[in-house]
Symmetry: C2
Subunit: 315 residues, 2 copies
């Protein structure tokens, strides 16, 4: 009676095995993907955030993959500059709002004279950079992947492993990264401010599609999201912590490329323009593995998260 929500992996021989090949689960499809369908994430694209240990003394590390160019490239350049300057060290997670975001940065950022000065060399950002002109060169479309929008001139898909939305005609197209669970974006003040990248958030709830094209998506959490998603929710407006004691301290944020090889985490992602990824998306849209009785027939772009897996650290 310890019922499981999804226990297909526990049963190797389903009842219909004699009649047809057993349908694989998405996880099994990913596990069976050939090595050439995977691409290692460059160390310069990985941000390693070390939080203060939890109450049990357990270390907490969150690894973020920065999004590929041309998406949000002014902000990702700034984030690299901020990490190299060790700008976030000693700052804190300042906000946790249920089914929305966890946010970090300078708790004194709005207080004149107390705010930590930003490093030299940050690039100028503007809201025009939330979208990229033209069609996305690297992307692959999947018939079952979409998101709810009445306007059929919009479409969603993946570009080199990133969930993307596009709109318009071939002559006048634009595209942009979308917010999913685990996406990392840039906090900002009111328009026309577009943020520097110093104030970041991670999505810990249902995809807040209303933020797309309204704020810069700069990456996604590839390890340790559970250190953010379990943080106590703030009781102030918008989930900000009401007292400094409730905040979680940031020990450091570094580019993986600035760590020694022994400390450097390594990951690879399933390339979206591969047969293995197409099979994975089909299985996410139409679950036929043993637990399921009625395939959905479609999948939200955020309910087909791009598979990312850990690689051994270089010896």
């Amino acid at each position: 009676m310890k019922s499981l929500l999804a226990c297909a992996a526990l049963f190797a021989v389903p009842a219909y095995a004699a009649e047809e090949t057993r349908s694989l689960s998405p996880a099994e499809i990913v596990a069976a993907a050939p090595q050439e369908a995977w691409s290692e994430i460059a160390a310069d694209d990985l941000l390693v955030m070390t939080l203060a240990p939890d109450r049990n003394g357990t270390p907490r590390r969150v690894v973020i993959q920065l999004i590929a160019e041309p998406y949000s490239e002014a902000w990702t350049a700034n984030i690299r500059t901020l990490a190299k300057a060790h700008w976030w060290d000693g700052l804190a997670i300042v906000r946790a709002q249920d089914n929305y975001v966890v946010q970090w940065g300078d708790p004194d950022g709005e207080e004149a004279g107390k705010a930590r000065p930003l490093p030299q060399g940050l690039r100028t950002t503007s809201e025009s950079q939330y979208t990229v002109s033209g069609d996305a060169p690297g992307w692959t479309r999947f018939k079952d992947v979409t998101w709810p929008r009445g306007d059929v001139s919009h479409y969603v898909s993946f570009d080199r492993g990133w969930p993307i939305e596009g709109a318009g005609t071939p002559d006048s197209a634009s595209h942009w990264p979308v917010h999913c669970y685990g996406s990392v974006g840039v906090g900002r003040n009111l328009s026309p401010d577009a943020g520097t990248g110093a104030e970041l958030y991670a999505v810990i709830g249902h995809a807040p599609r209303q933020l797309d094209r309204n704020i810069a998506v700069v990456g996604r959490v590839v390890e340790g999201i559970e250190h953010l998603s379990v943080l106590p929710r703030g009781t102030g407006p918008l989930g900000f912590y009401a007292t400094p004691g409730e905040r979680t301290g940031i020990v450091s944020i570094r580019l993986a490329s600035d760590l020694s090889e022994a400390e450097r985490p390594r990951f690879e992602y399933l390339i979206s323009d591969t047969p293995a990824f197409a099979r994975y998306v089909d299985a996410r849209a139409n679950r036929r593995d043993e637990f399921f009785i009625a395939p959905a027939g479609g999948v939200d772009v955020c309910n087909a998260p791009v598979p990312v897996r850990k690689l051994p650290t270089h010896p």
Copy 2:
């Protein structure tokens, strides 16, 4: 520089106030809804789950609204029977899987001789009851609300405050409740088992649409979801806790109608078939309040959560 993701409520007079009426945020529309657009939730439809206090000694209460008939009515009948029998008292939360579910029930449920016996009078359930035949009598459709499915004979909307999907022609239609963040459903074993309602879960991530029509949705958390969503993720398979010490104890689960009037929580929801709800959905699909620069033009049925608010306890 303490950038906010959504701070429209902090600014009363936007720059364009002189030109046109300021666009209200979804929260402002809800706050302005007339009283006749609200309906109190019956005490017999509210399940009050008291968890063991947290490490700081803070009480933890989660309130669940059971779904309206005819949806999943065999399971909601069983849940009322189980609550009246105090069946869950002393059991535990056994599973927390990130971006998916928190699940509770009998940790020894699969061990012969140790499983807690179920009460008398439970109704038989079957997977045919995941859907309801015919069109939904109470529902209202909204042009901007949908979810990704290639098959246009499917549609999503709300029926008396519940997110619902429907399919088919007027002559041969069916409809069913959908899983959103905060939805509560019934754990089960492999088909044809459909679960009793003794093993329950709440969604703590992006809407797992693949579970619709594959498992019974029986309600939603209307208060205290943050006591579930912050629970440490289990490290066993599927997020089950690897050791009993990691589980969170359930002190009791009661129907609000079985509590004294002084203890009984009260809530009301915004009725989906009202102009106020239509305005709310439009604003969720097309944010025009001050923070936003590009309205999305559509909204996932799960990104327009039905507004629920607390009422004073009867004196």
